[in-house]
């Protein structure tokens, strides 16, 4: 005679402790995030205003706004995205659709991408300085400007290209995963209808990988808005009286401005609320970018699932 179905103590204890542990971990993360946000807003609230967003810094950074930093960040991120997305997506398409999985060349590319992902940001900054500013820059000046020093110095374009190289692995990996997730029978269906491989990739595979590609792009953009080390030597400036208007201009940057305000202020007390307000703007920018990404991705997925 066996006992009726009674709850086993061991099972219940294991289930509950796992539920509690994972719940606590989640709560911890939310608490940390909440603490950061609250602290930032508390200290910077007094300075957050429309004027803050649209004015230049004044009085040695102890007053005024951060408009040039916002413009510079947007310009940097825009050029970086134009540079990184086509190249990153093309690389991912090659790895996923064209290369054979085990050839030496493919493996070499993967090793390169993985190593690139592990390089510290400041090393990218030094690379950008040595390669773009001091090598490509003078070459461009010699051929296009007859030796006049236009590009052989820190510039928006060099900082953007350095950031593009830094964020390339992210875009490649996110795109490749999205491409791999598409089942093989969709490609076969397209080919069986007499499509070329090119048509199959661009009319069936890449459109369906859209959300994944967007994810990679947003991750890249978020880093572009916040990373400081790679742009320190390649284009960003402490203070500029005018906005960047050419690819060869230098620019101000939100992440770098935070660093500047924190370490190089003549009056720490006056600067502190400005510092926190800048951080608040930077966080707000990152959050809204991610939110926009979530919304666009959800819409893309709905469009794929529902119709065209």
């Amino acid at each position: 005679m066996s006992a009726p179905f009674k709850r086993c103590r061991g099972h219940w204890a294991a289930d509950t402790s796992l539920r509690v542990a994972t719940g606590l971990a989640t709560a911890l993360i939310l608490a940390v995030l909440g603490t950061i946000v609250i602290d930032v807003l508390r200290n910077g609230w007094s300075k957050l205003s429309i004027g803050f967003l649209f004015q230049s810094p004044t009085d040695g950074m102890t007053a005024g706004g951060i408009f040039p930093a916002i413009v510079g960040t947007v310009a940097l991120v825009l050029i970086m995205t134009i540079a990184v997305v086509p190249v990153g997506v093309a690389t991912a398409i090659y790895l996923s659709e064209y290369s054979s999985a085990n050839s030496k060349f493919t493996r070499a590319i993967r090793v390169a991408v993985n190593n690139l992902a592990g390089v510290p940001s400041v090393v990218f900054g030094l690379f950008g300085l040595g390669f773009f500013v001091q090598f490509v820059g003078p070459a461009v000046d010699k051929t296009l400007f007859g030796g006049e020093k236009v590009y052989a110095q820190p510039a928006l374009i060099w900082a953007a290209l350095t950031m593009a190289i830094l964020t390339m692995p992210v875009v490649i990996v996110a795109t490749e995963e999205a491409l791999r997730a598409i089942p093989r029978d969709l490609r076969e269906a397209s080919l069986a209808l007499g499509a070329t491989k090119f048509q199959t990739i661009f009319k069936v595979v890449v459109p369906q990988a859209g959300p994944g590609i967007l994810t990679g792009t947003i991750l890249a953009v978020s880093r572009g808005a916040g990373e400081v080390a790679p742009i320190m030597f390649t284009g960003v400036a402490y203070f500029l009286p005018k906005l960047p208007d050419k690819l060869s201009s230098q620019f101000m940057h939100l992440g770098n401005h935070v660093y500047t305000l924190a370490t190089q202020s003549p009056d720490v007390d006056a600067t502190k609320p400005l510092l926190y307000a800048t951080v608040a703007v930077l966080l707000g920018l990152t959050f809204s970018l991610n939110l926009a990404a979530v919304v666009v991705r959800a819409k893309m997925r709905a469009r794929i699932a529902n119709a065209r």
Binding site: E188, A189, S190, A192, L193, R308
Partner: protein, 257 residues
Amino acid sequence: MPATDKPAPKMTVKDLSVYYGAKKAVGPLSMDLPEKHVTSLIGPSGCGKSTFLRSLNRMNELIPGCRVEGEVKLEGDAIYGPGIDAVSVRRRIGMVFQKSNPFPKSIFENVAYGLRIGGMKDNSDIAGRVERALKHSALWNEVKDRLSESALGLSGGQQQRLCIARALAVEPEVLLMDEPASALDPIATAHIEELIHELADEYTVVIVTHNMQQAARVSDYCAFFYMGDLIEFDKTETLFTKPSQQRTEDYITGRFG
């Protein structure tokens, strides 16, 4: 082995062998596929019938390491050979797969896909061909009011008929079907079988099936495969009632499966 009053062959296969790497999977075998008739390929699992089918429209090339030797001709035109474009082969020889694979697009765009990539631009031409294809695959009445809805919202049987319509829209000469009803319920299966009957009026159909009764119901000619070899090819009625090979008889009577 072939029947004496066979109709003209639409496709001829001569000494075809298919290799995966060093291992020979199918052949060598020769076969004539009669025009505007349904030919079924039967045999136990792993006997090479799907591999053979896929070599008729060069879909085997998608598998790395796969090699084809021998000759396959569509109405006298060789489909293998240097300089012969697989893409144009597949426009004349269409395929429907075992598991329906509609694109995550609208019903209309699914059927129009083959037309658009083939270069057709006129929207009214496309709409006309889409309607005709959907009527041919007995799906028009069920979807005519929701052509812009996603194809993924259709039932399994409807999706398979959509895939058939998609293949028919480009007006191929031959339609290859790899176990088209094996993933479907009996009612949907019956629809597909009825459809195959009608399709044979205009197209040459080659269908792989692991269901012997389906082969008996649906096909005019039947080829029995075993372990990569073609054992017997004859009119379906003859093969099922008076097979000339012992192994065929063993398979049909269920002595092995």
